[in-house]
């Protein structure tokens, strides 16, 4: 029997959009401004001010990415696997201490970093003072004469409103697209 081309039972169907409550525009604006400012502090190497945007119980996590088959039952991102960052505040302070040390030779002349933050989505949570925030980043680092490293990925943040009314970063998960990091180091926060 000749095949009739066109719609067939194997073809996937479009799904209707799932309605979700819109976060207040003022909040989205505030979150965006928070993320943009945070990115600029990093680009300007204002690391201590950057740390000041975090809660004391910050968890900053950037898991290593493994290429595994879809059938693989293990989680794609597993807290038990090795990670490029898996830090609390003490360890973030250690990293910042190295960056700001005069003998951090790989930072002198300074690495030139530009973070572009986009695709910001804000989700309300059961807690009034916490917001789940999705964003994407493109980071370009220039170093020395012609060295250039690009890294892109997705972030899932938890922002918490502090007692003084300002937003703070309480946790960040960073998922990059590279499984083999195409750079000699990762001398940048994302």
């Amino acid at each position: 029997m000749a095949l009739v081309l066109g719609d067939n039972p194997a073809l996937k169907k479009p799904l209707p959009p799932q309605p979700s409550p819109l976060p207040p525009m003022q909040l989205v604006f505030e979150v965006q401004q928070f993320l943009y400012r945070e990115a600029r502090l990093l680009d300007e190497e204002r690391y201590q001010e950057w740390l000041g945007l975090m809660t004391g119980d910050i968890h900053y996590w950037m898991p290593g990415i493994q290429a595994r088959y879809r059938k693989d039952k293990t989680p794609r991102l597993d807290p038990k696997r090795m990670a490029l960052f898996d830090d609390d505040m003490l360890n973030m302070r250690r990293r910042v201490t190295r960056f700001l040390d005069a003998t951090a030779w790989a930072e002198d002349p300074p690495t030139r970093s530009c973070h572009t933050i986009s695709n910001v989505e804000v989700e309300l949570t059961p807690r009034d003072d916490e917001f789940k925030v999705y964003s994407t980043f493109i980071n370009c680092r220039g170093r020395g004469e012609t060295e250039e490293y690009w890294l892109t990925g997705r972030r899932t943040d938890l922002l918490r409103r502090a007692g003084d009314g300002t937003l703070r970063l309480a946790s960040r998960e960073i998922v990059m697209t590279q499984s083999v990091l195409l750079a000699k180091n990762l001398n940048v926060f994302l």
Binding site: Y69, R81, D86, R98, D101, W105, W150, K184, N185, L186
Partner: protein, 439 residues
């Protein structure tokens, strides 16, 4: 996007195999402690390294814990040859080329997992965990139309496999002596890591992989014995992790040891390297275990367990013995490597402590690590500068500690006093030279 690394690939200067033994010996003058930079940039020499070193030596491919159960596999490299390391249904670890015998397509595209069969995406040829061809589409046509068709001859090319206390090694040389002879007395030192606890060791899950635009020998020789760089290169990392720079060490109580080109530089300070992990619990764990380890390995080796040290198992596996970072430097051209890193822990250690080891190692010795970040910059620039035709004619200096050989009643191998010493690096290049001169 074009990577900076690609630009560093030097133009071929010689065809493979055309550098004579006499010429090589002139390039690597170990009596004078001078090494010609050509060994770091010449494409012909690089091709010879792949043939005479990486296709001949016993190469570390996996820790047994990475392939603990039947069907567990990882993919890695031996030289530039992609290989699959898989635990067979019979419990044996197999290592074979990751390239189909039909049209050469890569067979396994995942870096780790569990599989009973590896099936090629191209035409569906299917291989088992020992690399044997077990099935192919339209097999009956092959049986009918290919004279003498024999599936047994079409398995994936296998390497010889042996292991030492959890570390799995493989070689493509079918005639070389076994792993025990390859390692020799280096095993006595490896036991500091691999056998300080009756439960043995394992790798933490996962690994971090990255690329560096450097010749593979720069990091390998660095870990072999370059204690000298630590205080200078890593001052900023030490300030971050310890609150102060790398302290002045008593050179007269530190050593460099080599055997068969494998090298280890160390002090007997017991916890110096481990302290850089920044976790008090790890230091406490080591101190608590000192007498137990001494009963097992003797006093002198119990002082090495967390000590300031670094080591390279020839040609390309390196570790900081006191720090638990493990890595291989896979060659990808004259000025490119792929770095794979892991964390080694005692299997019997509490889970919470293993987590601290994993995080501590990653925080210091991974691409984002406070200590490693400054290394990559040095090695890339040491490689890139050889693009200059005048620069590349200048020889490099490897003559520190020429007369430092000592004998020791307990410490095995070829021993040199003082860890500020090029003796291990000279031993690394002596082994390199011996292998490269052997046709």
């Amino acid at each position: 996007m074009k990577r900076a690394a690609a630009k560093l690939q030097m133009q071929p200067e010689t065809a493979a195999g055309t550098v004579t033994a006499k010429a090589l010996r002139e390039l690597v003058d170990l009596e004078a402690g001078r090494i010609d930079r050509r060994i770091f940039w010449d494409h012909g020499i690089y091709r010879m390294e792949l043939e005479r070193i990486f296709a001949r030596c016993w190469l570390f491919v996996a820790h047994e814990s990475q392939v603990a159960a039947p069907g567990d596999f990882i993919t890695t490299y031996m030289g530039e040859d992609g290989v699959i390391v898989a635990r067979g249904t019979d419990g044996k670890v197999n290592v074979f080329l990751n390239s189909c015998t039909h049209r050469g397509n890569k067979i396994c595209h995942a870096e780790a997992g569990n599989k009973k069969r590896f099936t090629c995406n191209y035409h569906g040829w299917c291989f088992d965990t020992a690399g044997a061809l077990v099935g192919l589409p339209a097999e009956e046509l092959y049986q009918k139309t290919c004279p003498g068709f024999d599936k047994d001859e079409l398995g994936l090319h296998r390497a010889r496999v042996e292991s030492y206390k959890g570390l799995v090694f493989a070689t493509f040389d079918e005639t070389s002596p076994g792993l025990d002879e390859y390692l020799g007395d280096y095993r006595w030192y490896l036991d500091v890591l691999l056998d300080n606890d009756e439960g043995g060791t394992e790798f933490c899950e996962g690994s971090i992989k990255s690329r560096m635009a450097c010749n593979w020998k720069f990091p390998a020789e660095n870990f072999a014995g370059d204690s000298y760089h630590a205080a200078w290169t890593h001052n900023s990392g030490a300030v971050a992790m310890l609150g102060q720079g790398v302290g002045k060490s008593n050179q007269e109580k530190s050593y460099q040891m080599n055997v068969n080109g494998h090298a280890w530089q160390f002090g007997l300070d017991m916890v110096g390297n481990a302290m850089t992990l920044g976790e008090q619990d790890i230091v406490d764990y080591l101190r608590e275990r000192e007498s137990k380890v001494a009963a097992r390995l003797g006093k002198i080796r119990s002082r090495m367990v967390g000590a300031i040290s670094s080591a390279t198992l020839f040609p390309h596996m390196s570790f900081l013995a006191g720090h638990s970072t493990f890595r291989t430097w896979h060659p990808k051209g004259t000025a490119e490597i792929e770095l794979h890193t892991w964390v080694l822990v005692n299997k019997s250690a509490p889970d919470a402590l293993k987590d601290k080891y994993r995080n501590g190692v990653m925080r210091t010795f991974s691409p984002s690590g406070t200590l490693e970040m400054d290394d990559g910059d040095n090695w890339e620039n040491a490689s890139a500068s050889n693009q200059g035709v005048v620069t590349r004619r200048q020889k490099l200096h490897y003559a520190l500690g020429m007369d430092s050989r000592i004998e020791h009643e307990e410490l095995k191998g070829v021993l040199h006093l003082r860890k500020y010493n090029d003796s291990n690096q000279r031993a690394f290049y002596q082994r390199w030279l011996d292998l490269m001169c052997k046709e």
